[in-house]
Amino acid sequence: MLFWQILIDGFAISALYALGATGFTLIFGVSGVLNLSHGAIMVGAAVAAWAAASELGVGPYTGALIGVLMGLLLSFATYFIAVRPIQRSRAIAESEKEIFILTATLLWGIIIQEAIAYLFTNNAKTVLPIVEGVTNLFGVRTPKNEYFTAVVCWVAIGLLWALVNRTRRGKAVMAASMNPRGVTLLGIELSSIYLTVWAIYGLLAGVAGILLGMFLGVSSYSVGPLTASAFSIVVLGGLGSVSGSLIAAYVVGYLETATAYLISPAYRTVPALLLLVVVMYLRPQGLFGRR
């Protein structure tokens, strides 16, 4: 019974982690940007979906759509306000740009977080679930929305895979992550690749934020922990490796769930963080990292 409980809960949580981390790692892989406003974008999308439903009275589907659009909007805003000006700046030395972008996205995330807290208070909000009710599987009573969350996450990850491997645009994105200079030599504008990646990222972060809002709820306080969890999953899996992130998401998700059930919910995140420290010692490039 407890076994099934951990298996089912862990699966849903891990799928959500995987979706959240995929976009994060994709951006890093293609443009070398570690986006520390990640959590703020996820929370922004979820709060927009909540506000649309509770303030404007729209249904769960329209609410979710508005949330995804907000994710997209915030993603582009992050790129145009915090990232691109630094990438293009002549005043900042090339070697220092990474740390400038890191700081800029961190501050941008805090701006979004504070704006959310002031406009909608720091109380947690929950997004209207698309699927209501509970179902009994192996004697475990689980909200149907939890299964729905896992399914949507995997469909989104599958679509991303198809996009990257089956479409011309996607292949260009993949190529840019391997060798940006080579892509430009082929006549593909690197800046348009970046736009595509930030668009994909916005959609992924938006969907992940809304699903999280339905499943567990979010508040402006969630911003930091969400960025930190995406960051540690991506580092564990190997920076820039999408498949590494997916596997790491499941390792972290199950480790956390098992800890919460078998030891105590209070220590939920401890073993995963310890594992991260150990991996950093023994294999600094992460489990599946290339560099």
Binding site: Q5, D9, N122, V134, G217, P225
Partner: protein, 410 residues
């Protein structure tokens, strides 16, 4: 939040049109509160409302009351800085501070060092007043304007006895509370009073306020098979409530759930709060005293929403400070303390009087018959309905469909 914005606009407007008709220096009351938190965001607007009412009637002995607001971002360190600034730069005569026990405990020694009267409209930890008992001469400037955690535990037990043990023959309970300063005395109170009313405590779960996934906690509670969950939550609220509903945990939630006292909680939880019971000192439409409903109406008219629990007390606190200054004949802090200790004031939450020096909890509110008795409300169809005590009840219990009552007799 809208209330806070409207309030800031009004405050600015009032400052611009400040009249020259006042006889002497204004009385300044500093308000240090959490503008971003639902419970804290009513504190400053409610204080402003009270000040305007008093000023409209001529102020205190011809002196106008001015409210000076500081947003503490829910941080103790920022609160201490605000307190120092309030006293040494803005020269406030008294401070109304916070709904968070940790913040008030950090400010308490500063109220003593800077000899400035401070009332908290919303913190609950018993330690606030226990400190005063230990070092009265230094800490006497702090007053506890809300119920202590141990009295809250007592009121929850009183309500549980009448509502659950009597009619529904409930026998077992699990205590579920968040790990914070205010719940330590609350849990001790629950552990003591629940068995006395006939509810055996079969498990006790203290969770981290950072918890986001409550599934393992509800799973453990269900495993203990209690008749009811007795709650002590304030920093968390939306997440356990929504997950309780979405996972259809068949055990009622009953106790303290501070966020559920806010009228916006229905929206925050998309209605998942349906059926949740929460203790409060006031509620929509409940005329606890003749002052309650006029206050709620005025607040709603001015700010467009309903006050949180700390709004009621903050409003009363301004009146009590005004009365104390009038009785003390000025703003001398020691004389104000003496006057406040003699407070006997019918406010929005009941008859307010402080426990005297010598009591284990000096400057805590008196509770029980004739003073503050508290209410037990239940969210029903989007409304907060008072179900206890009987003489103030506006309806009776409605159980959500997923709740399984083991030994229902009614």
């Amino acid at each position: 939040m809208a209330s806070f914005k409207i309030f800031m606009l009004t405050a600015c407007a009032t400052a611009l049109v400040s009249s020259a008709a006042w006889a002497a220096d204004p009385i300044k009351i500093g308000v240090i509160a959490e503008a971003q938190a639902v419970a804290g965001s009513s504190i400053a607007p409610a204080a402003q409302l009270a000040a305007e009412e008093i000023n409209a009637k001529g102020g205190v002995d011809g002196r106008k009351i001015e409210i000076v607001v500081y947003d503490n971002h829910s941080s103790s360190a920022e609160s201490v800085r605000a307190f120092q600034r309030a006293v040494s730069e803005d020269h406030v005569n008294a401070v109304i501070a916070s709904y968070i026990s940790e913040v008030v405990l950090a400010l308490e020694p500063w109220a003593g060092r800077l000899k400035t009267v401070m009332i908290t409209p919303g913190a609950a930890s018993d330690v606030i007043t226990q400190n005063i008992a230990k070092d009265y001469d230094h800490l006497k400037y702090t007053f506890h304007g809300y119920l202590t955690s141990s009295s809250l535990a007592g009121l929850v037990c009183d309500a549980a006895k009448d509502l659950l043990v009597g009619p529904y023959k409930m026998k077992t309970a699990v205590i579920m509370s968040e790990d914070a300063a205010w719940t330590t005395p609350l849990d001790a109170g629950y552990e003591k009073c629940l068995p006395e009313i006939g509810l055996k405590v079969v498990d006790h779960i203290r969770m981290s306020p950072d918890t986001t996934d409550f599934t393992p906690i509800f799973n453990k509670i269900e495993g203990a098979k209690p008749d009811v969950m007795i709650t002590g939550i304030s920093h968390v609220g939306t997440q356990p409530t929504v997950q309780w509903k979405s996972q259809q945990v068949p055990i009622p939630m009953f106790g303290i759930s501070s966020q559920a006292t806010n009228s916006t909680f229905w929206k925050d939880t998309n209605g998942a709060v349906e059926g949740v019971f929460y203790n409060a000192v006031s509620g929509p439409g409940v005329a606890v005293t003749p002052r309650t409903l006029p206050f709620v109406d005025a607040y709603q008219k001015k700010f467009g929403n309903f006050p949180s629990y700390a709004g009621y007390t903050s409003y009363d606190d301004v009146y009590m400070i005004a009365e104390a200054i009038h009785k003390a004949g000025g703003t001398d802090s020691d004389k104000m303390v003496e006057a406040l200790e003699k407070t006997d004031y019918v406010g929005t939450i009941g008859r307010i009087a402080f426990k005297p020096k010598g009591d284990p909890n000096p400057h805590a509110l008196r509770t029980g018959k004739g003073y503050i008795t508290g209410l037990m409300l239940q969210w029903q169809n989007g409304k907060q309905v008072n179900v206890w005590p009987k003489e103030l009840a506006a309806g009776s219990i409605i159980w959500p469909s997923f709740i399984k009552l083991k030994a229902a007799s009614n």
